[in-house]
Symmetry: C2
C-alpha cells in the first residue's frame, strides 16, 4: 500500500484508537497512584470516549466484596463553544461557553427528584468530599476546561455551604484534576487559565495540595491536578472517532509513524 | 505471531475498535435515511463511545450556514443494574435499574436553572417534538433499555402536557429509536420488553408509524425503531474499551476472523 516515496497530505496529527487506548492506559497508572479519582466528569462530546476508556484502568475495590472491583462512576456535562447562534457577536465566537447539559442538584448534595436512587448510589455519585477527575479530548484554547472547572467548583462550594456544619466537617477536601488526551502547547499562550498544580513529578502527593482549613473541614482544595496523556504543537489533531474512513485514517497514521513525522510528544506519565 | 494450530481461549466475541467503527458507520446510513435523529440520549457508561462515533455519521446541515454541518447533540443518562448495594434482595439483583444521572427539566420543556443557555441552544437540545435516538452498547437482558425508553416517554409526555395547547399543537410527533452495537439473541427470551417497530425493511418510513392524533398534535408516536449494528448469540462480547491489553485483544480478534469463528451476525443495515 505505502511506497517509500509516499507523503502525508498535511501536518495533522493522526492517532489510532489503539494509540489513544495505550496512552490513556499509561497515564491512568500515574492518575491512579497520585490522585485515584472517586468520580469522573466527562465533557461531552469530546470527553465521552476518553472517560469510558479511562474507567477500565481506574477501577476500585468493591465496598461489598473486596475480591471484586467496581467502576468509577462517570457523570457527563455538555459544553460547547458558542459559535452557531445568530446574533452572537463575532467577538464572542469561540469564547463563550454554552451549557447543553449539566449535573443535577443531587450531585451537589441537594436532595432532588431522584427518589429511586439508593443510599449507596448517592454516596458513590455525589461530588462533595470527592476526588473529581474532569475528562476532555483536547486542551486547545482552555476556554471550555476553565469554564467546567470554575462552574464545578462554584456548585461544589454552594453544596458544601448548604450542608449542616457537622456533616460538612466530616468530609475530606474536595479535589479536582483534569485529564485530556492531548494538550496543545501554544507559543502565544492559552485564552483560558487554570490554577494548575505545577509539580507533576511522581513524588507529588495530595497531602502537599493546599487546603483552606479556616472553614473547619469540608473545603475545596486549591488548584487542579493536570494529566495530559500527550502534548502536541499548535496543529490539527485528527481523532479516529471523527473520521468517516477509519482504514484510510489508520493508513495515514501508520505512514506518519514510519516517516517519523507528525507525532505526539510525551505526556505527564512519561516524564 | 499466530500459528495455524493456535486456538482461541474461549467463545467470547471480540470486536476491535475498527470493527465497531465500521459497523456503526454502516448502520448509521440506514438510521440517517429512515429516522434522522435530532438528538441522541447515550446510556452511560456503555453508550458513550458508540454515541460519539455515531455523531460523526449523523451530522445535519447548519441552520445558519447550509454549507456547514452541525453535530447532533448528545445527552447522557447514567443507568446501572442494581447489584452492589447492601440490603438489595438477591431476587432484585440485575433487575432493578438505578439512575446515576438523569436529564434536567429543561430537556423536557420546563424552564430550569440554565439561564445561560441561548434560545437556539434550547431548541437544539430539548426532547419535545424531536426524533430521539437512545444509544447503548449491548442489548442483553433489555432491562436497562426498557427502563430508559419508558422513563423518557413518561418525562416527554409530562413535558408535552405542561405546554400551552397552542405550543403543543405546533410540535411534530416525538419519536424514539434505539441503537445498540450488539443485540444478544436469547432463545429463552429477554427479561425486558420494548414495543419494537417490527419492519426494518428499507421501505419503512416514519409516516407509517402510528401516532395518537386524538390529543390534537404534540403526541408521542407509538413504538420504537430498533437498530442493532450486529447480532450475537448468548455469549460474552469483549469490547475493546474494556480490555487492559489492547494488542492481545486485537490479536485474538484477528485470530478469530482468520479461523472464521466467534463472529458477529449481520445487524439491520445488512438485511
Amino acid at each position: 500500500m505505502t511506497s517509500s516515496t509516499e507523503q502525508l497530505p498535511d501536518d495533522h496529527i493522526r492517532a489510532t484508537y489503539e494509540d489513544i487506548h495505550v496512552q490513556i492506559a499509561q497515564t491512568a497508572k500515574l492518575i491512579k497512584r497520585q490522585f485515584d479519582p472517586d468520580v469522573m466528569v466527562a465533557i461531552s462530546g469530546g470527553g465521552l470516549i476518553p472517560a469510558r476508556i479511562l474507567r477500565t484502568f481506574l477501577k476500585k475495590p468493591s465496598a461489598h466484596d473486596p475480591n471484586k472491583k467496581r467502576n468509577v462512576p462517570i457523570q457527563a456535562i455538555g459544553l460547547a463553544l458558542y459559535e452557531e447562534v445568530a446574533g452572537s457577536s463575532v467577538e464572542n465566537m469561540g469564547r463563550e461557553v454554552v451549557r447543553t447539559q449539566w449535573l443535577d442538584e443531587g450531585t451537589f448534595g441537594k436532595r432532588s427528584s431522584r427518589e429511586d436512587r439508593g443510599e449507596d448510589g448517592d454516596k458513590e455519585e455525589g461530588l462533595l468530599g470527592k476526588r473529581i477527575l474532569i475528562v476532555d479530548e483536547v486542551d486547545d484554547s482552555r476556554t471550555t476546561l476553565q469554564y467546567a472547572y470554575q462552574e464545578l467548583v462554584k456548585d461544589v462550594k454552594a453544596g458544601l455551604e448548604a450542608l449542616e456544619p457537622e456533616a460538612r466537617a466530616k468530609l475530606p477536601p474536595t479535589r479536582f484534576a483534569i485529564f485530556v488526551v492531548h494538550n496543545k502547547v501554544k507559543d502565544s499562550g492559552k485564552r483560558g487559565t487554570l490554577p494548575l498544580i505545577p509539580s507533576q513529578s511522581s513524588s507529588s502527593t495530595l497531602e502537599d495540595q493546599p487546603v483552606d482549613s479556616t472553614s473547619g473541614g469540608g473545603a475545596v482544595a486549591e488548584g487542579v491536578w493536570y494529566y495530559p496523556a500527550g502534548e502536541t504543537g499548535d496543529v490539527w489533531v485528527d481523532y479516529p472517532w471523527e473520521t468517516e474512513d477509519i482504514a484510510e485514517h489508520n493508513r495515514l497514521a501508520n505512514l506518519a509513524k514510519k516517516l517519523g513525522v507528525n507525532q505526539v510528544g510525551a505526556g505527564v506519565a512519561s516524564r
